[in-house]
Assembly symmetry: C2
Homo-oligomer: 200 residues x 2
DNA sequence: CGCTGTGAACGAATTCACAGCA
DNA sequence: TGCTGTGAATTCGTTCACAGCG
């Protein structure tokens, strides 16, 4: 099996999501290019990494392609799903407390944490919520491997350290703090302050 | 002046922010590498793009380096600041309605928009808020060039189109919708669903 | 023909490796 | 010796260009 690069992986996941709502039973690289703005060549190269060989000279079957992507990348099916939690449930964290946001990504939202017991009582959510006190125990017992960090900037590094000490694999940092993480932890800065620097 | 690539630019901005809170008056590429996880070589290359030539064999002066970065990249000073607005002020949008999040990024938060007049009345914010009705007029009159999109998924594409029709230059998409934009508009998907795909 | 799949060319960014300064 | 700055090598991702299938 060929190696699929990060950018290619990302495009393929997006593509799978697009195909889900694509009306025609057939699709070509040209049409995908029009929808996404990627070049034809890139799209064909990406798809060729799946080693389907089913599209020869005829475009791809929408549903088949979609299925191939999710299968090859191992997203969607329960067994492979990576468990995810949200740490910090103020406005920002609470706004992400919704499994539908993660459908088709390969992640399963499994828990929410907040220090404020009052807030935990107030929020009604189908996802179980816990006080931050239980962070370590719950992360280990529920086998959570990924976290969305949405606490206040002051607590960010501290909570980050606690998450790492639980052996978490990846963190989406929605705070505006530059976090120091050990190299085996994948960290992505998602806060607006960080993302804007990609626009300049 | 040498060309500074996107990735390098991003690292330099992060570095400038780090330097702001760095205690020692001197710093070396090794120390930066430890803090950030980047390689020494990359750091030295990045800094060399600034054409300082002040660090020969001795490490860099913290403050001087920081100043050089912000100056060279033209961030921080009022004249160069790019104006930014937030569209959609529900929990997510409201949580970003805070200029301090954007300090040192070269962006100035200038307006917030929401369809719900009631919400506009309720939120107290030093940043001026407007009904979505006035989106086009205000964006043009205030010369806003960048937007944070934080509306509900259903309205995302519609609002995106309206923003583009105003000639906006870049959009941070915090919704979970895959947006179709014209190629001259820079689009960054920041929603957790999108960001997670970078962790896989 | 129109479309895929892919070797080869290309371009961009990172890393190596070392000369040179204090 | 410890550090920077930078040509050269390398790696990685994208794009070209075309052979080959239906």
């Amino acid at each position: 099996m060929k190696h699929i690069s990060q950018p290619a992986k990302k495009r393929l996941i997006t593509l799978a999501q697009l195909l889900q709502q694509y009306p025609d039973p057939k699709i070509t690289s040209v049409k995908i290019a029009q929808m996404t703005g990627w070049t034809e060549a890139t799209i064909r190269r990406d798809i060729s990494l799946l080693e389907l060989h089913s599209g020869i000279s005829n475009g791809y079957e929408t549903k088949q392609l979609q299925k191939a992507i999710t299968q090859k990348l191992g997203i969607g099916q329960q067994e492979t799903q990576n468990k995810l939690c949200i740490v910090g449930l103020a406005r920002l964290g609470e706004s992400m407390l919704d499994q539908t946001l993660f459908e088709g990504t390969g992640f399963l939202l499994t828990a929410g944490f907040d220090t404020n017991q009052n807030r935990l009582d107030l929020i009604k959510s189908p996802i179980p919520l816990f006080p931050t006190l239980d962070l370590e125990t719950k992360i280990r017992s529920l086998k959570i491997q990924y976290a969305i960090l949405a606490v206040s900037d002051e607590k960010a590094q501290f909570m980050c350290d606690r998450l790492i000490s639980c052996g978490i694999k990846g963190i989406l940092n929605y705070t505006n703090t530059i976090l120091k993480v050990s190299p085996q932890v994948r960290l992505l800065n998602c806060g607006p302050g960080f993302m804007l620097t990609n626009l300049l």
